[in-house]
Symmetry: C3
Subunit: 128 residues, 3 copies
């Protein structure tokens, strides 16, 4: 089974889930489109989604490029930490935005590890 593809699709479905929470928060807190502010709880849900969009743009290319140079199981394992980091980020940001540091670190550090791994693989030229 291609675990790298699996991690990538799970990251996609995770972001769909965060987007659904934003839609739900629009109704719950009465924030009509096109507004994206007006109620603290809506803004928290929206920032979780937007922060995840910002990270997906760097996570997926790092994941797939790293997977060209390193064993699939390692790359997928590091990617799985990102998925857990995003869950922690969502739970902590929803409870209190100031407590988001650990979830953010567990999202960003795997991305940096994959990006640095990709750079090393590219420079060594050891495509698998």
């Amino acid at each position: 089974m291609n675990y790298v593809d699996l991690v990538a699709v799970l990251a996609v479905l995770q972001l769909v889930f965060f987007a659904i929470l934003v839609g739900r928060a629009r109704g719950l807190y009465g924030v009509e489109a096109p507004a994206v502010s007006g109620h603290e709880m809506f803004e928290r849900a929206y920032r979780v989604q937007m922060n995840t969009v910002e990270l997906m743009v760097i996570f997926l290319p790092s994941l797939f490029i790293a997977a060209k140079y390193w064993p699939q199981s390692y790359v997928a394992g590091v990617g799985a930490i990102y998925l857990v980091g995003r869950v922690l980020y969502w739970r902590s940001y929803s409870a209190a935005p100031a407590s988001r540091a650990i979830g953010f670190a567990l999202s960003m550090l795997p991305i940096l590890a994959l990006a640095i791994g990709a750079i090393v693989g590219i420079l060594r030229g050891t495509a698998t």
Copy 2:
């Protein structure tokens, strides 16, 4: 011809078009950078672009991963529905944000179909 690549590049050019509309709306409605609010019509154009950015992040990986496991013509066909859905979303959101549901559904459902198709393909391990 690689129809999956074609759908992906058309989605890119569609988003460029939405971004151009935002730049034009800045001038038309007098919303100077870095502000992204201040006039309802500008905010509608901006939300169409941002919503499309949010969806591109899940559409493109779903499209390309699904294309590793399923016939190109099916995958490209589902992707083409997304392109039509985005046009409807743009037209309806510009006219009245509350009428955006059908365009949104026709954007999101193809993405979910591709993501679920990708998961099924990964689990069956039937890469083409």
Copy 3:
């Protein structure tokens, strides 16, 4: 060495750098999450990051699809212009948002060149 992959990872690290500047601007200008406005200098840093997120979503697919149809050195060279354009955009936007036009053009024109190159390659069907 795979220069196309290298350009892609450098674009990722560049966006990480812009994101770090936003985090730093939160502290410097006292803009607490989830707010994304409230101080002009914070908003400039945030808009540089967001604009780069918006462009990454069209840059990376254009880069990788173009690389399937054209020589790697050409594609990577055009991609490198994007990296320079983003540096100019960041410097000029931080100094004065109204001066961002050249940096933006040097980011967007390489993307359009890659996207159009990709379309031409797809239509000619000359995958390398």
